[in-house]
């Protein structure tokens, strides 16, 4: 009998949070670089978004000393947590570009990757809808473009064919393009799964640790550089790869990287309740403009309906790049309603925004030995990074072999999959699928909307990247993600986390220090707690 939450073989990497005392278990707390060992890392990855995690996973297949570091308090907590969650076929990419090449490679690789890493993906297919005469004329060109990207199953549909497939499509629809291969996936689980396997294989992960700058090594040949953290720790590294998304420019300034400009392109979304799921069968996409792919309406892998995103260019370092606006939400509703009838009648449960990393040098800008030997800059992974996370990692590893002289020896005991015994996950529930080792706490729901049990919360807390914030827990279990948005379960969940980890309930945060659940600076009066 396999026990949920257990990993065989053991976890070889180290995980630390750079948090104040009392906010997580002492064993998880980063206090100094000596905890990571004295040898310089062969490679430090700055940015644990889906790109950084995918790269860590790829590198963990080799005998290398690798560190993955992020200023946020979970993996995949930046742009990688707020996107449309589509695994693209690349039918609409510009043929001949690196992006198109990586998308094509990814398309072939995803089914196997998703099965091994247990990332839920559903190939629901997409239909791009034309709602004006002019758009209808563009369909032929779009079909040709798709075929040039090897998406040979893409074909034009008549208005009647669309109505048959999508009874709730807007009456304005003139025709469309069927893209059978477009899939929806679990965007959170992608980063988490990569990082879990990487950690199991020996990659060290340091969270809550911003990198303020780089002290470049001066030795000729292969110098050792030092990353300096926001709080002054120095982390030695032979090679550095900057996959820090919107933080990449500032980091590149620190090591004299070449010229490029990036800015956040905000995308706002509206999430509808599960009763809205039945409105559509495929993801419905608008015809793209020069600036943006436009507002789409798509089922999510979780069984909700999603509309968005907007495309609003903001200045770099705008603190509101991931805020929603009433105006933006209105635009999403308007855009969605152009494709689907009756959208405005559907109950909204949440809104969110993500910030694409738009680069003036074009998408997927990669520079080796940028500013200094052994330093790599990757930026402008704007709209397709979830899809290409694995093919891009493969491409970067090849590149580092060639350009940086990175030597690779396979780690023969490395995992390339998450074990069956990885905790159940929201898509595989303890009491379903004939799983025999469910415990009674797997039957006590704590999040009622998504029916997530106390047992699943405990299993998630014990999973390899020990989630220690409410948001991190939410992305793994879906607790707090349902229609009541935590109305019923927020406090009971916090009690559960506190009880299981021993962290004082008043110390718990939404997403790291500075986001405490209650007014900071209070201590619990123990008599008040009734368990």
């Amino acid at each position: 009998m396999t026990q949920f939450g257990t990993w065989q073989p053991k976890i070889r990497g180290r995980l630390y949070y750079n948090w104040p005392r009392g906010t997580c278990e002492e064993a998880l707390r980063f206090t100094g670089s000596e905890q990571l060992g004295l040898e310089p890392y062969d490679l430090v990855i700055i940015g644990a978004g889906v790109v950084g995690c995918g790269l860590a996973y790829q590198l963990s297949q080799y005998e290398l000393r690798v560190l993955l570091v992020d200023r946020l308090h979970d993996v995949g907590e930046g742009t990688s947590k707020a996107n449309s969650a589509i695994i693209h076929t690349g039918y609409d990419a510009k043929p001949g570009t690196l992006e198109s090449e990586l998308l094509q490679e990814a398309r072939a690789a995803w089914p196997d990757l998703a099965a091994r890493l247990k990332i839920p993906v559903d190939p629901i297919g997409g239909i791009m809808l034309s709602v004006t005469d002019e758009q209808e004329r563009q369909l032929t060109a779009a079909e040709k473009n798709a075929h040039a990207n090897q998406a040979t199953d893409v074909r034009i549909l008549s208005a009647a064919e669309i109505r048959e497939r999508e009874p709730n499509a807007s009456p304005d629809v003139r025709g469309g393009l069927l893209v059978p291969g477009e899939s929806v996936g679990d965007p959170f689980m992608a980063s988490i799964a990569y990082a879990e396997v990487a950690l199991a294989n020996g990659v060290d992960i340091l969270l809550g640790t911003g990198i303020a700058g780089v002290e470049l090594g001066q030795a000729p040949g292969a110098p050792v550089h030092h990353l300096v953290t926001d709080d002054g720790h120095r982390l030695p590294a032979r090679r550095i790869i900057n996959v820090a998304g919107l933080g990449s420019r500032r980091l590149a300034d620190g090591y004299g990287g070449g010229a490029f400009d990036i800015n956040p392109r905000r995308g706002q979304f509206v999430l509808f309740d599960k009763c809205a799921r039945s409105l559509v069968r495929h993801m419905l996409l608008p015809m793209p403009s020069a600036h943006t792919k436009g507002v789409l309406v798509s089922p999510t892998i979780f069984g909700n309906l999603l509309a968005g995103p907007t495309a609003e260019d903001l200045p770099l370092d705008d603190p509101e790049a991931t805020h929603t606006t009433v105006e933006g939400i209105r635009k999403v509703m308007e855009g969605g309603s152009r494709l689907v009838n009756g959208l405005t009648q559907q109950p909204v449960i949440a809104t969110y925004a993500g910030a694409r990393c738009a680069c003036n040098q074009g998408s997927y800008m990669i520079r080796y030995n940028d500013g200094a030997p052994g330093v790599v800059t990757v930026t402008g992974v704007r709209s397709t990074g979830l899809t290409t996370s694995n093919s891009l990692a493969r491409y970067l590893v090849d590149g580092m072999q060639k350009e940086l002289g990175l030597e690779l020896f396979s780690d023969t005991v490395a995992l390339n999959a998450r074990p069956e015994s990885a905790w159940p996950g929201w898509w595989r529930r303890p009491f379903e699928d004939g799983v025999s080792d469910a415990r009674s706490d797997h039957g006590c729901a704590v999040c009622f909307c998504e029916v997530i049990s106390e047992g699943e919360i405990r299993d998630a807390l014990d999973s390899p990247i020990r989630p220690r914030t409410m948001d991190a827990l939410k992305r793994r279990t879906r607790a707090l993600m349902g229609r009541c948005q935590g109305f019923d379960c927020k406090v009971p969940l916090a009690e559960l986390v506190s009880g299981h980890t021993g962290i004082g309930i008043e110390q718990l945060t939404n997403n790291g220090p500075g986001s405490e659940l209650v007014a900071p600076g209070q201590t619990v009066c123990p008599k008040e707690v009734s368990v």
Binding site: H323, C484, A519
Partner: protein, 318 residues
């Protein structure tokens, strides 16, 4: 899968569900099962603990008094205990099959189906989410919570969810949240709403004046939450600004009708209001609703009596 049979199944053990059980027992109907997803019956009022210095917010009309929720819930629970109702705690109804009057339950022993000759939906209500309001946007910070969290943090843990709270909404629930916060040590809350004047009546406001005189701003347009990690202030599109370290989203209850909606029963959208026939019957024969799941705000004792009176319709149907 085993299928235990009951005469009546009641979904939810709040005042309305208890009222239905008590009413049915009085009429000699049985066996009855009451299914409650929490570890105790009593429903929403149960979370309002009696505390020295606390604020009583539940009107007990029959005694002409305002009491703490758990006092009221305690009295109702005693009445329930005098019936022979089977009580299933920590058990959630996850799916219903209207035609067969079958329910799928998840409890400590896993999934189980039960069937009944009649079913009472008494699942209560929840507060509207910020996004659902349509006029509140901005940053997704910590400490943007609901009234339920105020009682959770204060009554269960003695912790203040905010020192400078901003209360969004102005109904009875909003005033009760403001009063609770103030009575237990927060600054005088700011209260904002789209309405020009507060939703709570003059007498209701008068009652709460003992504890709170919130700093009221009515007629606000669209509002954004500002801050990173934690909220720092709210800003309206017409330039108003309110400082605060926590936002409490109050009232505007949304009925918990999703079980019925997902099972194809007649439910209006986007309000999620059940379409009701005579005797609070739902669109499928043998299904009834009682309490706050009917939509709107109803006091707890009203919900209890409403449950009792639905028992009459149920008995007639049977």
């Amino acid at each position: 899968m085993s299928e235990v049979h009951f005469k009546v199944a009641i979904i939810g053990g709040g005042p309305a569900g208890i009222g239905a059980a008590v009413g049915l027992a009085k009429r000699g109907v049985g066996p009855i099962v009451l299914i409650e997803r929490r570890g105790e019956v009593g429903g929403t009022p149960m979370g309002y603990r009696k505390k020295p210095g606390g604020v009583p917010t539940f009107v007990e009309w029959t005694r002409g008094r305002v009491v703490f929720g758990e006092e009221l819930a305690g009295r109702l629970t005693k009445r329930l205990a005098q019936t022979s109702t089977t009580i299933r705690l920590n058990t959630q109804v996850t799916k219903i099959y209207p035609a067969e009057k079958r329910l799928t339950l998840l409890g400590p022993d896993g999934f189980e189906d039960i069937v009944a000759d009649a079913v009472v939906l008494a699942a209560g209500a929840r507060e509207q989410t910020p996004a659902e309001k349509g006029w509140l946007a901005g940053s997704r910070t910590a400490r943007v919570g609901f009234t339920r969290h105020v009682t959770g943090w204060l009554d269960r843990h003695g912790l203040l969810p905010a020192r400078k709270p901003i209360v969004v909404g102005s109904d009875l629930i909003a005033y009760s949240a403001a009063a609770k916060l103030c009575a237990l040590g927060s600054d005088e809350p700011v209260m904002i709403d789209r309405r020009r004047s507060p939703e709570a009546s003059f007498f209701e406001r008068l009652f709460f004046r003992r504890w709170t005189r919130p700093d009221w701003s009515g007629g606000v347009s669209t509002v954004e939450i500002k801050g990173h990690g934690s909220p720092t202030h709210l800003e309206s599109s017409n330039g108003q600004e309110w400082q605060g370290d926590g936002v409490i989203i109050c009232g505007q209850l949304v009925p918990n009708t999703e079980l019925a909606l997902m099972a194809g029963m007649a439910v209006d959208l986007p309000s999620r209001q059940l379409q009701l026939a005579q005797g609070q019957a739902l669109s499928q024969p043998g299904w009834f609703a009682a309490g706050n799941v009917l939509g709107g705000f109803h006091g707890a004792q009203w919900c209890y009596f409403n449950g009792c009176s639905v028992a009459r319709s149920v008995a007639r149907f049977l």
